[in-house]
C-alpha cells in the first residue's frame, strides 16, 4: 500500500521576485499530517515568502508545491482546508468579533445558520466567547490576535499557516497564546506551519524547527523535537527546553548575517 502523500510537499521550489531579487533558492520540504513545523532564521531569509508560497499567495518561479499530493484547486474541499493567520490581526474594524470570525464561512458559501452555529465554539477555543459583540477597536492587541486565530479555526482547517502571529505582543501574552496554540494543535492533530523570529517560541511549539539562511533564502538545518513532550509551563522551565534553546541558538549563530570583523553594539 502506498504511504499517504505529505500534507505539504515542496519540490525544488524557488522564488525570484520581479525586481530580480532571489527570495528563495530551490528547496525541498515535506510536512506530514499533524506536524507543527516552525520556520526561523534572520530577516530576509525567506520564511514569510516560503509560507506565502504554501498559502498560494505567491507563485513559485520554479518547482512545484503540492497540497495532499494535489494542486491548489483541491484546497477548500473536505479534508483539504487551509487557514492563514497573518502577522497583524487583519480584522474588519467595521464588524464585530462574531462577524469577523464568520467571514471565511461567508466567503466559502456556508449557509448562515450553519455558520452562526460555529462562531461560539471557535471563540470558546480562544477564550473569547464573552467578546462576540465587541468591535476590534474595543479589544487589546492580544485579544485581536485571538479573534484572528478563531477566524482561522472556524473553518476547521486541516492545515494552519501562521506568519509571526504573536510578534507584536508582549512576552507574557505571547507565552500564554503559545500555550493555547500548542494545546489546540495537539488536541486536533492540526498540521501547522509557523513562522517566528523567536527561537524560544519555536522551541516551545514545534515538533520540527527549520532553520533558514539568507542571500538567497534556503534551508540551513532541521531540528527535530520529540512531539510527545507536553507543551506547558513545566516544559518551558525544564532542562530539555533549555537544551533545545541552546542547540537552536547555535544553529542560528551559524546563519547570523554578522560578518567577521563587524563590531557588535
Amino acid at each position: 500500500m502506498l504511504a499517504p502523500a505529505p500534507t505539504i510537499h515542496l519540490q525544488s521550489v524557488e522564488k525570484v521576485f520581479p525586481n530580480g531579487v532571489r527570495g528563495l533558492a530551490p528547496l525541498d520540504l515535506a510536512v506530514g499530517q499533524g506536524e507543527l513545523v516552525s520556520l526561523i532564521g534572520p530577516s530576509g531569509c525567506g520564511k514569510s515568502t516560503l509560507l506565502k508560497l504554501i498559502a498560494n499567495l505567491h507563485q513559485p518561479s520554479g518547482g512545484a508545491v503540492r497540497w495532499w499530493g494535489e494542486d491548489f484547486s483541491a484546497i477548500g474541499r473536505e479534508g483539504r482546508r487551509l487557514s492563514f493567520v497573518f502577522q497583524d490581526p487583519t480584522l474588519m474594524p467595521w464588524s464585530n468579533v462574531a462577524t469577523n470570525v464568520r467571514l471565511p464561512l461567508d466567503l466559502d458559501g456556508v449557509p448562515r445558520a450553519q455558520a452562526e452555529a460555529r462562531i461560539m465554539p471557535a471563540l470558546r477555543q480562544v477564550g473569547l466567547e464573552h467578546a462576540a459583540k465587541r468591535y476590534p477597536a474595543q479589544l487589546s492587541g492580544g485579544m485581536r490576535m485571538r479573534v484572528s486565530i478563531a477566524r482561522a479555526l472556524v473553518t476547521r482547517p486541516d492545515l494552519l499557516l501562521m506568519d509571526e502571529p504573536f510578534g507584536a505582543l508582549d512576552e507574557f501574552t505571547r507565552n500564554r497564546l503559545d500555550e493555547d496554540m500548542a494545546r489546540l494543535c495537539a488536541r486536533d492533530g492540526l498540521t501547522t506551519i509557523f513562522v517566528t523570529h523567536s527561537l524560544y517560541e519555536a522551541a516551545f511549539l514545534s515538533s520540527r524547527v527549520i532553520v533558514m539562511a539568507a542571500d538567497p533564502g534556503r534551508i540551513h538545518a532541521e531540528y527535530v523535537i520529540d512531539p510527545g513532550m507536553p507543551r506547558d509551563e513545566a516544559f518551558r522551565m525544564s532542562d530539555a527546553f533549555a537544551r533545545i534553546c541552546r542547540d537552536l541558538t547555535a544553529l542560528l549563530s551559524e546563519v547570523s548575517p554578522r560578518r567577521a570583523g563587524e563590531e557588535g553594539i
Binding site: 498559502a55 498560494n56 499567495l57 477548500g76 487551509l82 492563514f84 497573518f86 502577522q87 497583524d88 487583519t90 480584522l91 474588519m92 474594524p93 467595521w94 464588524s95 464585530n96 467571514l103 471565511p104 461567508d106 466567503l107 466559502d108 465587541r134 468591535y135 477597536a137 474595543q138 479589544l139
Partner: protein, 258 residues
C-alpha cells in the same frame, strides 16, 4: 470643582466670540465709527431683524444650490471613483482631467457655464458641483485603494468573488476616507454656490445671499451686507457640524471604545 474637557471645548470658543463682539461693539461706539464703514454688532443684529424675511429667502436659495451640488457631487464623485479604481489604465487616462477640473478657478469658468447653461439654478448648481466634487472623488478613490493588504489576501485566499470584495471589503474600507471627503465637500459646495451667485449676479425670486451682499454694497447698506455674511457663516457652520455628526455616527464602530 472640575470642568469636563467637553464643556471647555464648547465654552472656550463661545467666550472668545463674546469677547470679540464686545470689543468690536465698544470700539465702534468709542471711536464713533460710522455704520457704512464698520457697523457695530448691534447694527448688524438690527439689520438682520429688519431684513429677516428677505435674507432668509436668499439663504434658502443659496442652501438649495448648495444641497443640490453636494448631492450631485456625492453621487457623481462616488461613481467616478468606482470607475477610476477599476483599472490603473482608466485612472492614468482620466485622472489628469479630474485634476484640471480641480485647478481651474471656478470664477474663471463660471461666466462660460452661465452662458452655456441657460437656466440660472442649474448653472449655479453646475458651478458649485465643479468645486465640491473633487474631494469626494479623490478621497473615495484613495479609500477604495486603502484596503488592508492582509485582509485582501484573506479574501483572495477564500476565493472571494469581485462582488464580495466590493461589498464586504472595498466599500467599508473606503468609508472613513469618503466621510472625510464629504466633510470638506460640504463646505466647498457652499463656497461654490456663493461664488457662482456672485458671478451670475442673479436677482429675482431665486436671488441668493451673494446677490444680497452685492445689492447691499451698491446701496451702501453695510449692516445688511454683514447680516448676509453672518448667515453664510452660520450656514457653513451648520453644514460642517451636520457632516461631522454624520461622520461620527457612520464611523462609530471604527472608533468604538471599550
Amino acid at each position: 470643582m472640575t470642568v469636563s474637557p467637553r464643556a471647555i471645548a464648547v465654552a472656550a470658543p463661545i467666550a472668545v466670540g463674546v469677547l470679540v463682539l464686545l470689543a468690536w461693539q465698544a470700539a465702534c461706539r468709542l471711536w464713533h465709527i460710522p455704520p457704512y464703514l464698520m457697523p457695530a454688532p448691534t447694527d448688524i443684529g438690527a439689520s438682520l431683524a429688519a431684513n429677516g424675511p428677505a435674507l432668509l429667502h436668499a439663504l434658502r436659495s443659496t442652501l438649495a444650490v448648495t444641497m443640490a451640488a453636494l448631492a450631485i457631487s456625492v453621487a457623481g464623485g462616488v461613481l467616478s471613483a468606482f470607475l477610476l479604481v477599476q483599472s490603473r489604465l482608466i485612472e492614468t487616462s482620466l485622472m489628469p482631467y479630474v485634476i484640471i477640473m480641480q485647478v481651474t478657478p471656478i470664477v474663471a469658468i463660471a461666466p462660460l457655464i452661465i452662458i452655456l447653461v441657460k437656466a440660472t439654478m442649474p448653472a449655479l448648481v453646475v458651478c458649485a458641483t465643479l468645486i465640491a466634487i473633487f474631494p469626494i472623488i479623490s478621497n473615495t478613490l484613495q479609500g477604495l485603494r486603502s484596503v488592508d493588504p492582509g485582509l485582501e489576501s484573506f479574501f483572495r485566499m477564500h476565493k472571494a468573488s469581485r462582488l464580495q470584495m466590493l461589498l464586504r471589503l472595498r466599500i467599508p474600507s473606503a468609508l472613513p476616507m469618503f466621510m472625510a471627503g464629504l466633510r470638506i465637500s460640504s463646505g466647498l459646495a457652499l463656497v461654490g454656490a456663493v461664488v457662482a451667485e456672485f458671478v451670475a449676479g442673479t436677482g429675482g425670486s431665486s436671488a441668493g445671499l451673494a446677490y444680497e451682499i452685492l445689492q447691499s454694497g451698491f446701496q451702501m447698506d453695510i449692516p445688511r451686507m454683514f447680516a448676509a455674511l453672518a448667515l453664510i457663516t452660520v450656514a457653513g457652520l451648520v453644514l460642517y457640524g451636520a457632516t461631522a455628526a454624520l461622520q461620527r455616527l457612520v464611523l462609530r464602530r471604527w472608533q468604538a471604545q471599550g
